[in-house]
Symmetry: C2
Subunit: 675 residues, 2 copies
Amino acid sequence: MDTKKQSINALRILAAEAIERANSGHPGIALGAAPTLYTLFTEHLQHNPKSPAYFGRDRFILSAGHGSSLLYSAFHLYGYGLTKEDLMCFRSLKSRTPGHPEHGITAGVETSTGPLGQGFANAVGFAVAEKMLAARFNKADAELINHYTYVLCGDGDMQEGITGEAASLAGTWKLGKLICLYDSNDITIEGSTDLAFTEDVGKRHEAYGWQVLRVNNGEDTEEISAAITLAKKETQKPSLIIVKTTIGYGSPKAGSEASHGAALGADALAKTKKALGWTAKPFEVPPDVTAHYKEITANLAAHEKAWNKRFNAYKTKYPEECEQFLTAAKGKAPDLTEIAELWKWPKKDIATRTACETVLNKLSDILPNLVGGSADLGPSNKTLLKGKDDFSHLTPHGSNIRFGVREHAMAAISNGIALHGGFYNYCATFLIFSDYLKHAVRMSALMGLNVTYIFSHDSIGVGEDGPTHQPVEQLLSLRSIPDAKVFRPADGKETAAAFAAALNGKGPTCIITSRQDLPHVDKTSKDALLGGYILLNSEKPVPDCIIMASGSELNLAVKAREILAVQGVDARVVSMPCMELFEAQTQKYKESVLPGSVRARIAVEAGSSLAWHRYTGLDGATVTMDAFGQSAPADILFTIYGFTAEKVAEVAKKTYRACLRKAADLPTGETDENV
Amino acid sequence: MDTKKQSINALRILAAEAIERANSGHPGIALGAAPTLYTLFTEHLQHNPKSPAYFGRDRFILSAGHGSSLLYSAFHLYGYGLTKEDLMCFRSLKSRTPGHPEHGITAGVETSTGPLGQGFANAVGFAVAEKMLAARFNKADAELINHYTYVLCGDGDMQEGITGEAASLAGTWKLGKLICLYDSNDITIEGSTDLAFTEDVGKRHEAYGWQVLRVNNGEDTEEISAAITLAKKETQKPSLIIVKTTIGYGSPKAGSEASHGAALGADALAKTKKALGWTAKPFEVPPDVTAHYKEITANLAAHEKAWNKRFNAYKTKYPEECEQFLTAAKGKAPDLTEIAELWKWPKKDIATRTACETVLNKLSDILPNLVGGSADLGPSNKTLLKGKDDFSHLTPHGSNIRFGVREHAMAAISNGIALHGGFYNYCATFLIFSDYLKHAVRMSALMGLNVTYIFSHDSIGVGEDGPTHQPVEQLLSLRSIPDAKVFRPADGKETAAAFAAALNGKGPTCIITSRQDLPHVDKTSKDALLGGYILLNSEKPVPDCIIMASGSELNLAVKAREILAVQGVDARVVSMPCMELFEAQTQKYKESVLPGSVRARIAVEAGSSLAWHRYTGLDGATVTMDAFGQSAPADILFTIYGFTAEKVAEVAKKTYRACLRKAADLPTGETDENV
């Protein structure tokens, strides 16, 4: 058996052994795609295992994240620092080898993958970032940015709609340095791809504007390598290399879905080793394989060295641009609370989407590397950066990204841009269509990425477009994502606070803006960054009741307080633009805003009540929107669904009285009231 | 001006006038696509405006739902019963002409559309249902089912990933009677499609296995009609007809995105009328146009008559099959609570996905028209119907639908099948990937469709696959959808109840099942259909505390109760498999399960806490999962995240004592406790 073949088999066997030990994992792709990964890592990928994060490296993304064991075997053999023991701890608690690749846990993992299609779309984002940075910083006599993005996909990735969306954009943008290796083994979990996947994937990608190459024998590293070489040469089109492989290669389950998602079992593993001529002890590799990997990795530091040299030459010639690049690459935004002009707003009614436009454009002046765009709703979301070009193949320096009507890919591409580094980036659509991209927000949160999501047209305020366009539950759906912030500002100042939370914080922030003008509210402030704060206090030291509200309903709370005052009920108004930030405050602060002794608490928000009960409890009440809306002008809808100052005051008074009765131990009515 | 042209212009002008009066709407597509709609409705669509719902009709779906005004104009002119006054009330409260087409509000609207891509995927579902019914019921000498599904799409639909997913399936399934009219006007909201949509849509559909036809002049009704004729002739492939049109045709804003989403304005409307030679008063049409529509609609009852004749002949020859068909078409499932075998379960541990498999297959025996499938996870979801064929072009009678890895299209296609009628249908994937299809569940709920969603692999119980595959917030996200039910059963009986809720109720039901075996719980019962019920009562008339739980955590509540009993704390255990059903019970019942006087309430669920605070209030506590999980064996995860009987008992005791202290007015600690 030749050493090269055994070196490829080493990738296979280590993966299969890790899975066997964990009794959990996906051997099929590891056995099938090993030659592809080997060829890429050995002959093409510009990487330095000893320094996996240097900026000039090629990026590699395993979109088929269930093939994690293959990636970890490679990281072990190529010297990324994963040990034999790490492989032995595959899929166990706190290991560096979790079930699917997790960015931040394992050096070399560029993005967390597993949910199919996300990694592919991330890769498009990586390639966008590379192209943008190259256009912005490279000079005729000094090149700074020039690297490829490789992504390995399986049949599952290729079936997901998000992948098609992202591929179409990659074609439009002519991302010539994006290369997709499609591990085409004709098998998915339910069986042959004939069951549900008979399309011509190559032709489809040609239709998107891709170069399509075919490798008929996925065991033939020369054929694979030649295809990658051709892919690298084509600079005007992204390339899809369809590599025909055999799932579970070498095992008795080869070619069958049985090899996909469960450990082979001791017997089949033994047979696989025998078939592949493998005799080493578990988790060991033969000396010639060790020597082979040592040889092929010996010079991998060279590319980083060359890049450092390029970088230093650039720095010398273009010190100012280099400084700009470094600032952007570090991804540290200036403290927005210090930028006075963001916090000065005229005392007039404003739609928060318009406030958003103002803030975004002020930020764009300050932060040249602010980029982003909308899923074909820029003029409606008000997220276009004025005076900036579009990002396109003709103007790759542009800042406005035109995503087309492709919400899911937009968000996942945005994650890719954020992961690549070099930009502050945002994306936008209507709040209702956050449904289409929600999982990508989850991925932003899971990876702690600073992507800013701008969702305009919130609530029944959308009006005539009707229930298909009126978000009711989307606020809650976004709030439910761990480590994501949802900010629903009431005016310009709170919108500035939302962007401060987004750019100066960690993880994604969803900024929810209104289509309609919102009545001016006095007293909003930077305190919005506390998530919830006392906007208007009660006259008494302890208020009779507390009215909490966010966004378009804050003005109702203010007016309701005035009505209640006339009726002798003393209300505190709490603006709660961001529950996640409020939850992050000290218990003392939270108690100062919402004292435990005040049980008459009313929440007002034109969205689902479920997020509010933690503050209103069993004795409070909610004026919320728990049903689908209707098609009618917005003002009519707000009235019929009870979003008026009078109704809020009425509910508050009733709640206050019920709490009084309860405190006095008198018979009560209902414990909770939804209006 | 010839009458036919003016009849087409009548569609345009009425639409533009309705929009103008509402000062809201989308004139661009109405002006551009009028000849296409006219040609279809006049020369091809088999429909009867006087009886818009007869089963044998062709289906027409306006996927580009923002073109509602065009559809309403057509419904007016073709005699569907929409009056001039209805058009004048466009987009106003309670009108029959809401902003986007709403199924159930306006006769003739086959499905609610607006969120792009949904209607297209619905149409694929309609065509699937037609093909399935034809295969099941048609006889060599008696044809019952034979109709086309037409769908009108715009550029936005064509960019959405869901559309690509659905188109790929339509190609695989060779849905020859699906015909898509693609209104290709090269304009989207942000401007020219060159900005973000440069792919070759025709070639892409050829790659999916479609016939692609082109109409170069979207004003030429003969060219359009010829293309539709060719499309109808091709029975082995779905057809895409790319109709090149001009957005905003006839108006001063023709060819510009300015015509897309706002009323033309009085001046532009006047100019449009002039350009089109239109002189009639607002909302009126010239007599020759009225006469023309009278003429072309005169014989539209003929197809229904012919269908009735076919139906009666069938009934005579095949009375039994006809009865089966009628039962299925009515969509009324037998009362599952009456089917004894569904409620008999051995006293042993069971994964609820396995219980689901048992119930599904028992139902499949009883209900031959039960169909459904998974997004390539059938063996994992355990949703395959044993002994039934796959639905495919070779076996169109099959019951198992192989959706491939296409969650979003799967759900929207399922909506189409449900809307078409003739089946009880379900679809399935992992709970984590409910994110990918959530908006289609929303559409099921908005339309009150009885689609059953089966989401297996709930919670950190997924184990080694890690945080990318462990649903944390998805339960809440689904619960947030108005009019949808989320059922998380704890065992076989509760799983049966979940299906009873699904098939005997209205609207969609999401059934959430576990991957792992769940310890056997005594005393579960059909009471699960109440949503929440007392599983084990306290010894005292009023319990010291109440522990609520669902699914995999119910057994923890039971064991915690035993631990507490030893410690002298008397707990009631409430099983809460379906909050929406519980909420629908009387206040009296709810009070009997959760008495207002008991404040020591603990919720235990391996998911987001936000859904539970309405029951636990400010004084209760939650043992929930509000962070991302980790990759490790499930039992380890349950332990480290506090899902043990001991921890639940500890939290319950602490909560009970804190409530006691509060009642005695002693100083308290924190008001809420998350573990």
